[in-house]
C-alpha cells in the first residue's frame, strides 16, 4: 500500500510540475491570462469536470468505465428543473433529490454489471442512451410549452453556483469531494478493496473481499459526482437543457487518464484527475486568449489526450518489464509457485 501511495504521489507530482509549466507559459504569453478574473473563469469552467473526473476515477481504478455520467447529469438536471418549476418544490428538496437520483443511477450501473456480469462499457453505454432518452421524455420544457424558456428562480438553487468572495463555489465543492475521495481511497478498507479489485479481481475475491459491494459503491460514487455536477450546471444556466452534460463523460475520462488513472485498473489517485481537468481547461482557455482557432484547439486537446494515454501505456509496459526482470533475478524458483491468477496481471496496483 505504501508503495502504491508513493507511486501515485510521484506521478501526481510530475503532472503538477508539468501543469505549473503550462501555467507559466500562458502567463508569459498573455497578460490577460494572468488575471484574477481568468483564474476564476478557469475554476468556474472546469471544476465540474474535475468533480466528474474524481467520480470517474473510481470505476476506472476498478478496470471499468462509466460512459453514463453525461446522461445522468441530463436526468438529474431535468429532475431539478421539473421539481422546481412544475411541482414548485423548495430548493432543498430538489438538491436532495438530485444527489439521491445521481447516486442511485450510478449504483444501478454497478448492480447490473455485478448481477448480469455484463461489461461496464456495455452497461454504461446502454445507460447513456436510456437516461438521455429519459431526459427528453421527462423534460418539463417540452411537456409544458409555457416552461420552454422559463428560468429557475429558486434562490437556493441559484445560490449553488455563486462564489465565496473570489472563490467560485463549484471549486469549493470539488475540493471537498476531492478530500473525501482521497480519504476514502487512502485511509479506508473500502479504498484498499477498490485497488485490490481493480488490480486483480480474482485474487481480491479469493482474499474474501466483497467484490460486488465494492463495484456497486464505486459506480454509485461516480453517479453521485454526476449529481453534484448537474446541480452546479443547472444553477449556472438557470435551466436544464435536454442535452445538458452530453459528451462530458469523455472530458471526465480524459481528465482521469491525463491525471494518471490507468485504464487497466488498480492505479490512480484523486489529485491527478483534478489536475488533469484543469490542465485540459487551461490549454483551451490559454489558446482562446492567444487567438488560436477553435478547431485547432480541439486538435491540440486530442493530442494531449493521446500523449497522456500513450505515456500511461508506456509506463505500464516498462513496469511489467521491470517486474519480470526483478523476479527473474531475485526469486527464480519461487516465481513458478505463484498462483496463476497473479501471473495474468503482473502490474497489480498493490505492487506498482
Amino acid at each position: 500500500m505504501a508503495t502504491t501511495l508513493t507511486a501515485r504521489r510521484s506521478s501526481a507530482a510530475g503532472l503538477a510540475a508539468f501543469y505549473a509549466l503550462v501555467l507559466i507559459v500562458f502567463s508569459v504569453l498573455s497578460p490577460r491570462f494572468r488575471t484574477e478574473q481568468n483564474f476564476q473563469n478557469l475554476l468556474i469552467g472546469f471544476s465540474h469536470i474535475g468533480i466528474l473526473a474524481i467520480g470517474m476515477s473510481f470505476p476506472i481504478i476498478l478496470a471499468g468505465i462509466d460512459l453514463s455520467v453525461g446522461s445522468i447529469i441530463g436526468v438529474v438536471g431535468m429532475t431539478v428543473f421539473d421539481l422546481s418549476l412544475i411541482t414548485h418544490a423548495p430548493g432543498i428538496v430538489a438538491i436532495i433529490a438530485a444527489l439521491v437520483v445521481g447516486a442511485a443511477l450510478g449504483g444501478l450501473n454497478g448492480l447490473l454489471i455485478v448481477r448480469l456480469r455484463i461489461s461496464p462499457f456495455i452497461v454504461t453505454l446502454a445507460a447513456m442512451a436510456t437516461w438521455r432518452g429519459t431526459t427528453y421524455a421527462i423534460s418539463g420544457r417540452q411537456l409544458h410549452r409555457d416552461l420552454s424558456v422559463a428560468p429557475i428562480t429558486d434562490k437556493l438553487l441559484l445560490w449553488i453556483d455563486g462564489s465565496f468572495g473570489p472563490i467560485p463555489r463549484a471549486f469549493v465543492y470539488m475540493v471537498l469531494l476531492g478530500l473525501a475521495a482521497y480519504w476514502l481511497l487512502a485511509r479506508t478498507k473500502l479504498g484498499r478493496d477498490i485497488y485490490s479489485v481493480g488490480g486483480n479481481e480474482r485474487a481480491a475475491y479469493l482474499a474474501g473481499i466483497n467484490v460486488a459491494r465494492v463495484k456497486i459503491t464505486a459506480y454509485a460514487i461516480s453517479g453521485f459526482c454526476a449529481g453534484v455536477a448537474a446541480l452546479i450546471l443547472t444553477s449556472r444556466l438557470s435551466t436544464s437543457p435536454e442535452d445538458l452534460g452530453t459528451g462530458f463523460e469523455l472530458s471526465a475520462i480524459a481528465a482521469a487518464v491525463v491525471g494518471g488513472v490507468s485504464l487497466l485498473g488498480g492505479v490512480g489517485g484523486t489529485l491527478g484527475p483534478i489536475i488533469g481537468a484543469f490542465l485540459i481547461g487551461t490549454v483551451y482557455i490559454g489558446m482562446q486568449l492567444e487567438n488560436v482557432t477553435t478547431y485547432a484547439q480541439q486538435v491540440v486537446a486530442g493530442v494531449i489526450l493521446i500523449g497522456a494515454v500513450g505515456f500511461d501505456r508506456y509506463r505500464q509496459v516498462r513496469k511489467r518489464q521491470e517486474m519480470v526482470r526483478r523476479r527473474a533475478l531475485r526469486r527464480p524458483a519461487a516465481d513458478g509457485m505463484r498462483p496463476s491468477a497473479e501471473g495474468l496481471r503482473p502490474a497489480s496496483g498493490l505492487t506498482s
Binding site: Q37, N41, Q142, S148, P151, R236, S238, T239, E242, L244
Partner: protein
Amino acid sequence: MTATDDSPATGFDRRRFLGVSATIGAAALVSPLLGACTSKSKTAAKPAAASGGTAKSHYKMVWIQIQPQATSTAWGQGLQEIAAQQKNIDFQLLDGQNSAATQINLMNTAIAGGVDVIFLQPADSVGLAPSIKKAKAAGIPVITLNIDATETHAAHVEMNHYYGAQDIAAKMGAAIGGSGDVVIINAPPGITIRDLRTNGFVDGMKAKYPNVKIAADQNANWDRKTAGDVFSAMWAANPNIKGVYGVNDDMALGVVDVAKAKGILSKLTIFGNDGEKAALTSIEAGELTGTQYTDVWQQGRFAASAGIVLASGGVSAKDVPDQGHLLMPYSILTKDNVATIPASARW
C-alpha cells in the same frame, strides 16, 4: 476611406455601413415576395463622450456559434468579411460544440480577454442569459443572431421567424387543398426560435386554414438524419400526413430523404426554413416544396456593422438601455420563384 484614417472616435466606415443598410432596405422595397419586414431599432446608445468610454485603435470581436452548420458558417463568413474590411479588428470564431455550458466558458474567457463585441448564437435562450448579464456588466455589447436570449442585450438580428412561419403555413395550407393532417419536425426546446416558428406556423394555419390539423410536433434536434427517423415513425403512425414543416432546412431535407426512399414524395408537401443552398437545389429538383429564405451572409454583415458602430463609438453595453431588434427581410421560395435568388446570394 478606411477606418484607420477616420477619426478615432468614429473609426468606422459609414459609407460601407450605409451601403449594407441600403442593400437590405432596397431589397425590402423592391421584392414583391418579401413578407412583413419591420425594423424597429429602439436602441438609443450614448456616444463615447457621453458614456465616458474610450475609442481604441484596435478591436477584438468574437463569434460564438452553436456548432458548425450551414447557417452558422454563413453568418461567420458575413461577420468576418466586414470585420476584415476594417483592417483593425481581430475576429475570432469560437465553436460552442453544441453545448450551453461550453458557450458559457467561451463567453467567460472572451469577457476576461477584453473583447469589444460578442456575436452570439445561443445554444439555449435561458441558459446563456446569466453570461450575457455578465458581459453587459463588463460593458461588452452582445449581438445575437437568429436565437434571442431571455436577458436583454445590445441587439438581436433575426430572419423574422414568426411571420415567416405564418407565410409557410399559408403556402402549405393552399398546397394541400385546405384540409388534412400536417406535422412539425421541431428544434429542441429552450430556444426562442422554436417557439416563434411553431407559434407562427400554428397561428398562421388556424387563421387561414382552420381545417388543417397539426397531427404531431416532435423534436429532431436540428439534425437531418434524426429528422428522417422521426418522420418515419410519424408516417408509420399516421399515413394520412399531407404536409411536413421542418423548422430548419436540414430537418426538412431529412424528411425528403425518407420520403424518396419510401416512394411517397409526390404525396407530401414539405417546407423547410432558412434557405440554405442545399434546400434551394432541392426545390429546383422538385423535391422540397419550399422554404423561408434570408440572405444569411447579409445578416452576418449587418450584425458586424452594428457591432463595429458600437465598438468604434466606444459605446458601453451599460449605455444601451433597450435591445435593438432587427428583422431581416425574407421571401418564401418555391419552385416558381427560387430562380430569383442569384448564385451570389446562395449561401
